[in-house]
């Protein structure tokens, strides 16, 4: 059991490209930390640095109170699950799991006990003699998990372990991984680009962008108070509606210290269709352009009415002027219909004009 602490960790490649620009993360013993971000944000590189597969060019990586910057992967007492599982194709399932134990000189009897126990937990007992190519994707994934758990390491590292599975299996395995980690109580670091996976798995969520940490914290805390517009649009699906506004407008509408804000954010689920404007809140007139009905809920894509376009352009993923509204599945306006939506004061998120800072009103 161990803490993992990253202190101002940096990675600069020989070409001068800075992949990791000083990251500080503290993962407590037995905690499940998820690194999330778009592709190329450096999350996998960071994980590989913890594993010892990439050199550290600055800062310190500390596992269990020991700086491991110069320690070989084998001696860090970690186990890793790779995206493509990285099973040994020429070895049986049993030998795949036993390999790491044999390398450490464990007795065959003990190896047999451990592998059979792991196989039982992962429902692989009937497949111990098979080769990886005779297994399905989900089974291979479980072998990769088994290979990690038989070692009983201090830290588990997961590099997008579910991204090669189909959607249904991915959800099932996500739950399995979380249950397993809780039961074994092993400190884990998990990399994913899927915000839903990140939200559901994490004790600590680290949102990364461009080699930097945008925000660290409890997933729900991040959802409720995103620190930047990047986090606001990355965490939560569909993404938060972001509208650039003029400071004086916001000031006149919301008053107080909100004057520093340049961007207003409202989550789709925080809108209600109503003709009233809540006190201190925001109301918008929309023309319905598209509707997605998914059963329990309905997503309404609307364009803001002309007179409401006091806001220039919308940053984030939305096209200019488009607003997503999430409403219960029982309601559905017609396409082309004009509706009025409103959000209460407490549901408004304000950010500085460059989107880098949250403004508390």
């Amino acid at each position: 059991m161990a803490n993992v602490t990253l202190r101002n960790v940096r990675k600069t490649y020989t070409g001068g490209f800075e992949a990791i620009k000083g990251v500080n993360v503290d993962v407590g013993d037995g905690q499940f930390c998820v690194l999330v971000g778009p592709s190329g944000c450096g999350k996998s590189t960071l994980l590989r640095m913890v594993a010892g597969l990439e050199t550290v060019t600055g800062g310190e990586i500390d596992i269990g109170g020991k700086v491991v910057n110069q320690v070989e992967p084998a001696d860090r007492d970690i186990a890793m699950v790779f995206q493509n599982y990285a099973l040994y194709p020429h070895m049986s399932v049993f030998n795949n799991m036993a390999y790491g134990l044999r390398n450490r000189g464990m007795k065959e009897a003990e190896i047999k006990t451990r592998v059979e126990e792991a196989a039982r937990v992962l429902e692989l007992s009937a497949m111990l003699e098979r080769k990886p190519r005779q297994l399905s994707g989900g089974q291979r994934q479980r072998v990769a998990m088994g290979r990690a758990i038989v070692r009983q390491p201090k830290v588990f590292l997961f590099d997008e372990p579910l991204s090669n599975l189909d959607a249904k299996l991915r959800i099932a395995m996500r739950v399995e991984i979380r249950k397993l980690q809780r039961r074994l109580n092993v400190t884990s670091i998990y990399v994913t680009h899927d915000q839903l996976e990140a939200m559901t798995l994490a004790d600590i969520l680290v949102v990364m962008n461009g080699g930097q940490v945008e925000q660290i914290g409890n997933p729900l805390a991040i959802y409720e108070k995103p620190a930047t517009t990047f986090v606001a649009s990355f965490i939560g699906a569909p993404p938060m509606n972001l509208m650039a506004t003029r400071a004086d407008e916001i000031k006149s509408q919301l008053g107080g210290s909100a004057g520093d804000a340049g961007i207003l954010g409202i989550r789709p689920e925080d809108f209600v269709i109503t003709d009233q404007t809540p006190a201190g809140g925001v109301a918008l007139s929309l023309t319905v352009e598209a509707i997605e009905r998914v059963g329990a809920e309905t997503f309404v894509y609307g364009a803001r009415a002309e007179e409401e376009q006091h806001v220039a352009a919308t940053p984030g993923e939305l096209p200019p002027g488009e607003i997503i509204v999430r409403i219960p599945g029982t309601e559905a306006p017609a396409i082309g219909e004009k509706i009025r939506v409103a959000a209460v004061r407490s549901k408004l998120h304000l950010f500085s004009g460059d989107g880098r800072k949250r403004v508390e009103a």
Partner: protein
């Protein structure tokens, strides 16, 4: 799927494959057929009359202890050449596969020797190791080694094996490099995390995953050592001293073209032909089954 013939004329497809077929027929099948026929014939000493003798050439060949010696020698040469060139090439490939500065230059240089023609290889090594001219010979003699491959059969054999193996290293190197590139990096990383040191990683992961490549190269190298070493042997030792470097192929040439015993020579080539068919058959069978690991 379109199953209709694309060509309107019936003759055009035949005309298009004709040049290739002609080459194969004239330069491969015709001589092969000639050899088979020749192996059943016996000419008198002056070449005035030829008689059909059925399997007499073969019977005579197999009653000759010298022929068996040549077979054993050829197998020894093949084994030695294949083993040495494969192991050196594998070592070099593993080294060159590491991310090195200027790695591409090393790799290119290591592939170059393959472009050298076998007789030129022979000449190169002769120059280096000739008892009176060779640069290396002088050092060997200075080190107290009695080096004279012109008189010492074992030394001549060593020289031929050395030159032939050297020439083949590049080819093997190229295949090993490709084989190494096909091993997913993450598998080796997983092994590193699983606590396997570099040497153990090589023997328990890399080597087994290379086994299809190794098997393929083993067959190719044996075929090479059987047949393509002719040029090297001819320029270096001409099969001598004595018969110490005479392989099966060289004996075909020696007995037939030099010794004038066309019947026996043809019988030997037919035997060689059967050997190469068997080797190729083995190779195809295993390559198709991909040598399971």
């Amino acid at each position: 799927m379109q199953k209709q013939p694309i060509f309107r004329s019936k003759l055009l497809p035949y005309a298009l494959v004709a040049p290739q077929l002609a080459i194969v027929l004239i330069f491969f099948y015709w001589p092969a057929l000639q050899a088979v026929i020749q192996s059943f014939l016996l000419q008198d000493a002056f070449g005035l009359s030829t008689s059909f003798v059925w399997f007499e050439n073969y019977v005579e060949l197999f009653s000759e202890p010298a022929y068996f010696e040549t077979i054993v020698r050829t197998f020894f040469f093949s084994f030695a050449i294949a083993a040495s060139s494969l192991s050196v090439a594998l070592l070099l490939a593993v080294m060159a596969d590491k991310p090195l500065r200027g790695g591409a230059i090393y790799r290119t240089l290591l592939i170059w020797p393959y472009a050298v023609a076998p007789p030129v290889v022979g000449v190169l090594w002769v120059f280096m190791l000739h008892p009176s001219l060779g640069v290396l010979s002088r050092y060997l003699r200075a080190a107290g080694i009695e080096w004279n491959p012109l008189l010492d059969g074992d030394q001549a054999a060593t020289l031929v094996i050395l030159a032939a193996a050297w020439k083949q290293i590049s080819y093997n190197f190229l295949f090993f490099l490709a084989g190494l590139a096909a091993i997913p990096k993450s598998v080796l990383e997983a092994a590193a995390i699983d606590g396997a040191r570099p040497m153990r990683r090589f023997w328990t992961v890399t080597f087994p995953l290379l086994s299809p490549t190794i098997f393929f190269l083993l067959v190719v190298n044996i075929v090479y050592a059987f047949f393509d070493t002719f040029g090297i042997i001819d320029t270096m030792t001409r099969g001598g001293p004595g018969k110490s470097t005479e392989t099966l192929v060289y004996k075909v040439y020696n007995d037939g073209l030099i010794g004038g015993n066309l019947g026996s020579s043809a019988a030997q080539s037919v035997i060689l032909m059967i050997m190469v068919i068997v080797l190729t058959g083995i190779q195809f069978r295993f390559v198709e089954r991909k040598v399971t690991y």
